[in-house]
Every structure is written in C-alpha cells, then in structure tokens.
C-alpha cells in the first residue's frame, strides 16, 4: 500500500515538473518572456552603406547561397522572406532592411526551425558572416 502511494506521489511530481516549465499556449502569441534586448542584438547588425537595393539583393543572394528559396521580397518595406527544408523540417527566415541613418543600414533577421524560434547567437552570426562576404562590408554589432 505504502509503495503504491510513493509511486503515485512520484508520478504526480513528474507531471507537475513537466507542466510547470511549459509556457501556456497563449503566451506563445506574443513571446514576450524572452530577453527582448538581447535577442535584438543577436539578430541585428549595421552595415556602412546607404544602398538599400544592393543590400536587399545581397540578402536574397545570401539566402540562396544558404539553400533557401526566396518566397517574398518588397523593396519599399525592405522585407525578404525565405524558407528551406532541413531534415524534413521547415526553416523560415525573414530579413528586414531599414535605414539607421544617412550612412548606415540596419539588418534584422529572425528565423524559426520547425516549431521553435532560433534564439541562439551562432546561426545569426553565420548568416551575417555570409552576408558580409556577399556585399564586401563588415557587419557591425549594434548596442
């Protein structure tokens, strides 16, 4: 009898542990629990150029180099979206190009892999490395 009780308690504890660390489904709509500032600096770089068209074309070429299919692009809004398939999962990425000031452009990228947002710095670093090679400019970290 006592053994059964302990087993039951352990099982209950396990259920609580699992459900406790999951965010509710509604929280995922805004995803505001992440460290927004940190994420922004991971996903953003500045480039010393004012040529938006050249920058956007380089973004598209870089995405293609990385095996993406470019799905959407809009010059006026500075948006490029692409997707690629990795191990039977979809990787989607949106890159937005906008003016920081007269001499600089800000590039922000965000990506999701399967049903998870990519929040670690390495993939974005890889992307910006490829982009700087493509446009022959250095990607600068923003504060």
């Amino acid at each position: 009898m006592r053994r059964i009780k302990i087993k039951f308690l352990l099982a209950t504890l396990a259920v609580f542990l699992i459900s406790g660390c999951a965010t509710t489904a509604e929280e995922r709509i805004l995803d505001l629990n992440e460290n927004q500032l940190k994420l922004r600096s991971i996903q953003t770089r500045a480039f010393d150029t004012s040529d938006k068209e050249k920058m956007m074309r380089s973004v598209m070429a870089t995405l293609q180099d990385l095996d993406f299919v470019v799905n959407k692009a809009d010059y006026d809004l500075g948006i490029v979206t692409g997707s690629k398939f990795v191990q039977n999962q979809v990787l989607k990425m949106t890159v937005i190009v906008r003016e920081k000031d007269k001499n600089q452009l800000l590039i922000r990228a965000n990506a999701q892999y399967g049903i998870k947002a990519i929040n670690s710095p390495e993939p974005y670093q890889d992307f910006f490395d490829a982009l700087s090679k493509s446009i022959f400019l250095t990607a600068q970290q923003i504060d």
Partner: protein, 174 residues
C-alpha cells in the same frame, strides 16, 4: 525520472548549424544560375515569368525592383511502384488476418515551389538568373510525407534551355 528528462529533451531540434554556408554551395550555384548577355533585367524577368507560365506555374509573388518571381503548382505525385507495393502489403496483411493501411500512406499530391532571382553583374553588362525549386509531397491522408529541395542538375538544365529560347524569341519580337 531521469528517463523522463531525457525523453523531454530528446525532441528538441538542434538548430546550431542551420545557417552555416553549406559545403558544395559553389557547385549548387553553378547548377542553379545562368547569365544572359543583356543589360535589360526586366526583359529577363518577363521571359522568366513566361517560361514559368509555360510550365503551368501560377505566380504568387513578383518584385520587379529586386528581380524576384515566385511561383507554385499542385500536381499528382503518385508513383505506380509505390502504390503496387502498398497494395501488396495490405493484401498480405488481410490474408494474414490483420488489417493494414499502407495504401493511405502512399504519395498522392505534391506542391512544387519555384523562386527566380535576377541580378545584374558587377560590370553591368549581363543579367544572372538563379532559380531554385522545392517540393512538398502529401500522402493520401493529406499528411506531409516529404519536404525536398530539388538538386537534380537535369531539371535546372531543362529550365534554362527553355528560358534562353524564350529570351531569344522575345528579343526577335516575332
């Protein structure tokens, strides 16, 4: 308990390398890209649109300023051999007294996506076109059975053959 944690963490997809420049990307570029001896990017774009239409694609997205055309089409994806195999498995199962539903998992429909990006080269005297194809295959239960990026050089050669013919024709204005 331990097993529970391992089970939980096991389903997290690893995404560290997904944006690293893939090996062999230069060869891929050679396969997917061609240059045309013209300065007129819009002409290349409209020829590309015409070729895609010839191939039965509907165009989903066009951005003239950046040189992008995106199209897609839905087609049958049935492979006769696969259907025969599934039918065989189902019949065997039935003969053995159990039920199997292999027929429901055979490929049925595919969505093919194409994306073309044009770009004027650094010297400004040639227009390059880079095209990429993807396809998503659904089975008879309407579940995704495969996600593929098309890598077969023959498909790209076929596309560019049509495209150069189309540009030639339009240049001649027959």
């Amino acid at each position: 308990m331990c097993a529970l944690f391992i089970f939980n963490s096991g389903c997290v997809a690893t995404s560290t390398n997904v944006l690293r420049t893939p090996e062999g990307n230069l060869q891929a570029r050679q396969i997917e890209m061609r240059q045309f001896d013209t300065k007129d990017e819009v002409r290349v774009l409209s020829a590309t649109a015409a070729v895609l239409q010839d191939m039965g694609f509907t165009l989903n997205e066009v951005e003239k300023k950046l040189g992008l055309i995106v199209g897609s089409k839905e087609r049958d994806a049935t492979v006769p051999g696969q259907v025969a195999m599934a039918a065989f498995v189902d019949i065997l199962a039935a003969a053995g007294g159990s039920s199997s539903n292999a027929m429901a998992t055979v490929d049925a429909v595919q969505t093919i996506m194409v994306s073309c990006v044009t770009r004027i080269n650094l010297e400004g005297n040639k227009v390059a076109v880079r095209v990429t194809f993807q396809r998503v295959v659904f089975n008879r239960m309407n579940q995704v059975s495969r996600l593929e990026t098309i890598k077969d050089p023959k498909i790209y050669e076929g596309f560019f053959e049509k495209l150069s013919k189309s540009i030639f024709l339009e240049a001649d204005k027959i």
